[in-house]
């Protein structure tokens, strides 16, 4: 049975213990995966599609149109890749170099800065196995794994028995949720839910730092100092603490300085690690692959062998300043995920989209190529939210082309 395990690429937990029971043609039953994972693994639809102007064409026509757009562009944008394999990401970075592209992913408006701090060893981190085996104080700050990474608590962070945590979650672990809304995760944390007002995160960080050194913690929103002191004491007593940072915390910080302050204060008194709750299955992989290649995790512009970096090369600023003149969007739907006030600039430039499903972006694309779903229809590898490399094989067969293959063909045709 164990040889039969598959990896679920539904989110960046990359659960590696999924059993799949096959029927004659398709998947019959999926065991152990969560509701989203099952939907993801059953997403596969047999439809080979190449579209130009929303009309079906053959592969050659779609490729020649793609090449035409990229050749005519002075500063094309390559964006997405959060659900692509490492192999496809590396291919896309190569393509970016060749066509002097701006290359970015959605981490530029989410976890990019945190992942950068981790890969440059500015913040202490650990693996999810460490959390399972040793974690005793677990903080979900602005994150809600119950909805976003459903098996996070059961497979790694709270409920399982680990090598040094044999007596169970009730006795040996404390899970704390800090959020502006009582999420499903906060419900599970029960009394250890700290509800703060919108934008109140930095003040709580500094109040906690005060509390850690025994000073009276103050916040402008008058969070009971006694409760903050109580929390500070729990953190002080941690033998192996982890903060799982979510978008809620990231969006309320102007920069990462408060987070650095907190981690330093915590590590003076106890032992704390930080893991970002990366969303897409291989967003962290994109950050690491680009970092290996360029020294930056996102928002990069290639220019005749030189690498430029800065927020001005992020998708959001590129679109606002209208500096990009074509877009190759891979496995992402910026028309949905970006504010409409910003995404509307995409309507002014030709778009090539690659991905397994129909989205607002594919509908607006000049060229669309339906590619295989990474981890479901194609094998490869990805990097989990904690930096662990996970390899996988396809679960079902497909006739849809791999992203890697299409990217290679574009390279050749250029």
């Amino acid at each position: 049975m164990e040889n039969n395990y598959h990896v679920c690429t539904g989110c960046s937990l990359l659960c590696d213990d999924i059993e799949v029971e096959y029927g004659t043609e398709t998947i019959n039953k999926i065991y152990t995966a969560c509701r989203v994972g099952v939907a993801h693994m059953k997403e596969s639809k047999e439809k080979v599609t190449f579209l130009v102007d929303n009309k079906p064409v053959d592969e050659e026509k779609a490729l020649s149109e793609t090449v035409k757009i990229l050749k005519n562009a002075k500063n094309p944008l390559i964006f997405g890749l959060g659900a692509s394999t490492n192999e496809a990401q590396k291919q896309a970075i190569e393509l970016g170099k060749k066509i002097n592209a701006t290359i970015d992913d959605s981490s530029s408006f989410c976890f990019g800065s945190v992942v950068e701090a981790l890969v440059t060893n500015k913040i202490k981190t650990c693996t999810l196995e460490d959390v399972r085996n040793k974690g005793d104080v677990i903080i979900f700050w602005g994150s809600n794994p119950a909805d976003s990474h459903p098996r996070h608590l059961s497979k790694h962070s709270y409920f399982p028995r680990g090598s040094e945590k044999q007596r169970g979650w009730e006795e040996e672990r404390t899970a704390i949720a800090i959020d502006i809304r009582k999420s499903h995760t906060a419900k599970i944390c029960g009394n250890y839910f700290i509800q703060i007002p919108q934008g109140g995160d930095v003040e709580l960080i500094d109040a906690l730092i005060s509390g850690l050194s025994g000073k009276l913690p103050k916040t402008s929103y008058n969070y009971p100092p006694k409760k903050i002191l109580e929390l500070a004491n729990i953190l002080k007593g941690a033998k192996f603490g982890i903060i799982f940072v979510g978008p809620g915390l990231i969006y309320s910080l102007e920069n990462l300085a408060p987070l650095f302050r907190l981690m330093q204060a915590l590590n003076e008194k106890s032992n704390f690690h930080l893991v970002p709750m990366v969303g897409n299955c291989n967003m962290r992989g994109f950050n690491e692959n680009l970092f290996t290649e360029t020294g930056y995790v996102n928002s990069v512009k290639f220019e005749n062998g030189i690498v430029k970096h800065g927020s001005e090369y992020s998708i959001v600023e590129s679109l606002k300043a209208k500096t990009v003149d074509a877009a190759l969007i891979i496995g992402s739907d910026p028309f949905s995920s970006l504010p409409r006030s910003i995404a509307k600039s995409l309507l002014e430039i030709p778009i090539i989209s690659m991905g397994p499903s129909e989205t607002l972006t594919t509908k607006k694309a000049k060229v669309h190529i339906n590619t295989a779903i990474s981890g479901v229809e194609s094998g490869g590898s990805a990097i989990r939210m904690d930096g662990t490399l996970v390899s996988f094989k396809p679960i079902v067969e497909t006739k849809n082309p791999l992203e890697e293959y299409i990217l290679k063909r574009i390279m050749e045709a250029l």
Partner: protein, 154 residues
């Protein structure tokens, strides 16, 4: 979710005794304890004016099929498939410590009470549950770990 009083409010309240109980309230209690099914109330089932109530009551008791003897109900429509209950259940942990007890896929399924299939928790071997039998205790491991109250005992 429901208590006997809420069920009672949806019943005909005529105390006709056709179900074998002395009153509609007694019938409501019998429904809650799984002694009877909604179909035992003939007026509710047959008279058009109770159609809505009949459907509502039937749907309330539908998810418990297969677990009626112990009263463990899984509300499948609510379940996330997160597996918190699977990993937290002390019987599951005792019977499969290196599988579900360690957060992984089951290694030994023979005595598991809870497991995830198709992204939804399924209950089986419910006679193993600590809430039943001679030495029963009020264990609530699967209830307090659920983000959405998808499991309950009636």
């Amino acid at each position: 979710m429901t208590n006997a009083m809420e069920i009672y409010q949806m019943l005909p309240k005529t105390n006709c005794k056709k179900c074998g109980k002395t009153s509609c309230m007694a019938f409501a209690v019998a429904l809650m304890t799984r002694e009877l099914t909604p179909d035992a109330c003939l007026p509710l089932k047959e008279e058009p004016k109770y159609k809505d109530s009949y459907e509502k009551i039937s749907s309330l008791f539908k998810p418990s099929e297969g677990a009626t003897e112990t009263g463990l109900i899984v509300h499948e429509d609510l379940c996330f498939g997160c597996g918190n209950c699977v990993v937290a259940c002390p019987v599951n942990v005792a019977n499969d410590p290196y599988g579900v007890g360690s957060g992984n896929a089951p290694k030994n399924t023979s005595k598991l009470i809870l497991a995830i299939e198709e992204g939804i928790v399924k209950a089986r071997n419910v006679d193993e549950c600590r809430r039943f039998g001679k030495n029963k205790i009020l264990c609530n491991g699967c209830i307090v770990t659920c983000p959405v109250e998808a499991i309950e005992f009636v």
